[in-house]
Subunit: 299 residues, 2 copies
């Protein structure tokens, strides 16, 4: 069974928590099975060990909320949580493009650029549970200013909004170029988004391709840097921007392999679970809880 | 007991291997103790699991040599080996600035820039045993060309030879600057090395400081990137270039913390074992062999 409820516009943490509980109660009345465990993928920084949400960048009221304890009290079942990038890494590793892969990095390129690491078949979270933040690694120390305050982050070149912004700027500066992209948005430059840029590039628009190419180059360098630093065997790429076509993928792959030292081997593959990678990661978190309980009682 | 023998100029792998064996035989005849285990820190890429040396960049004849098996046969004792950066990380973790630290990265800045990772109290080697290569991560995609063929690697800005080269170039281009550095080398620009640059900077030479500052900035970004990607609790810095004074360290520390995302915490400390970190890492490798044998026989 599968059900999705969106958080309302201008929601508050309390409202969202009520939605969570109601949703689960509904399952429990319609399904004969009882609740063995709950896994949560949260869209913001968390402390998975203490079961704490640090904050949400979108919804107020989450600051330092003990979500794990709170859910356990209301649902009378064990609960595990992690941030959505880590959950997505876990989901792809358990059920998707990272199966049978001991060490991998999951990277999502969408409105932001994030990631999660699996080392030795386990999530590598880091000492502040912040590992995997490839989007804010710097690849161009003199580059353009990123929202985070630094210059030349991978995200500053590669996220969807920045791909669109760059194309829009060039369309304004270069009136003779970008005919295909202009027609796609009916000459309303406000309508330019990363998906349109990708479509125009596929149809042969040079300006559109150049904006995408800059994104692919930055992602490729970020991956090559991660390969030099961590040396995993596979990179799994998800998120809307990664649906930008073969030429985009080839540019990422070529750049990443040029950036990695000789002797470092890896493959870059698309995510298999689409938008569901974080949710299936939450399933994996719940599975692990159940398995650890079984091994606890059998000891 | 401690003894050091240098490899002769234009040596060959066979010569070096004979030196190794002779050295150990000498210990065995002068010391009453028998040989329990041997640890090797090798200056080049190795496969520590198969006990293979891949190659040496300095001495011919090492290509794919099974050093572990060969030493075991000649010494009749268990042997473990790793590359020098990994061994140094292990040495600092076990005996130096990384003690009681679960996750750390060791970085050496010398004629090259390399590193090794300890995650969960163990060496993280990566799937090709190449993890930790922070020196060839790119921080300036439009930067100057590195020996490795890429642009803007950390090493290209931060290694001793490049610090010296940059200062030398500026001294030639800017005849009115760098008085202190010029006097230190008695106006013979060929004599400029990274140590002289550091000394001149300490004595107030602006040109010298600017060359060092570029190195510190690149190292700081490399560390900040590693913190975002891996999130270890400590960075331990060794190698000659890291002896370049307080201002150099402050620049590294400030840049690294500016590069890391809010919520990511770490400290940057100097290595404690100096040039001996790789050797003490070899001791740690041997210790681990002995301990694993004890646990094998007690099972």
């Amino acid at each position: 069974m599968h059900k999705q409820v969106s958080s309302p516009a201008e929601s508050h943490a309390q409202t969202d928590r009520k939605i969570m509980i109601d949703l689960i109660q509904e399952f429990l009345t319609t399904d004969t099975a009882s609740l063995a465990a709950v896994g949560v993928s949260f869209g913001g920084p968390v402390n998975p060990i203490r079961g704490l949400v640090h904050l949400s960048h979108h919804v107020p009221g989450w600051d330092n909320f003990p979500l794990q304890k709170w859910l356990q009290k209301h649902l009378n079942a064990p609960v595990a949580l992690d941030n959505d990038a880590n959950a997505a890494a876990l989901g792809e590793h358990r059920f998707g493009a990272g199966r049978h892969c001991k060490d991998m990095m999951y990277i999502t390129v969408s409105t932001g650029v994030g990631g999660g690491l699996i080392l030795n078949n386990q999530l590598w979270r880091g000492s502040d549970y912040m590992a995997g933040e490839i989007g804010h690694t710097v690849v161009d120390l003199n580059g353009p200013l990123c929202l985070c305050g630094k210059r030349g982050c991978v995200e500053r070149f590669a996220s969807g909004p920045y791909i669109a912004e760059r194309a829009r700027k060039w369309l304004m500066e270069q009136p003779d170029r970008g005919r295909i992209l202009r027609e796609l948005v009916h000459h309303d430059l406000k309508m330019v988004n990363a998906q349109m840029v990708a479509q125009a590039a596929e149809e042969g628009d040079d300006l559109a391709w150049e904006s995408l190419e800059i994104a692919a180059h930055a992602i490729g360098i970020g991956i090559g840097n991660a390969a030099n630093m961590i040396n995993p065997e596979r990179f799994v790429l998800g998120g809307g921007v990664t649906k930008s076509g073969k030429r985009f993928w080839k540019k990422i792959d070529d750049t990443a392999h040029q950036t990695a030292l000789p002797g470092i081997h890896f493959e870059i593959v698309p995510a298999k679970l689409g938008d569901d990678s974080p949710l299936l990661g939450a399933v994996a978190l719940a599975e692990d809880l159940i398995n650890s309980e079984i091994s606890d009682t059998s000891e």
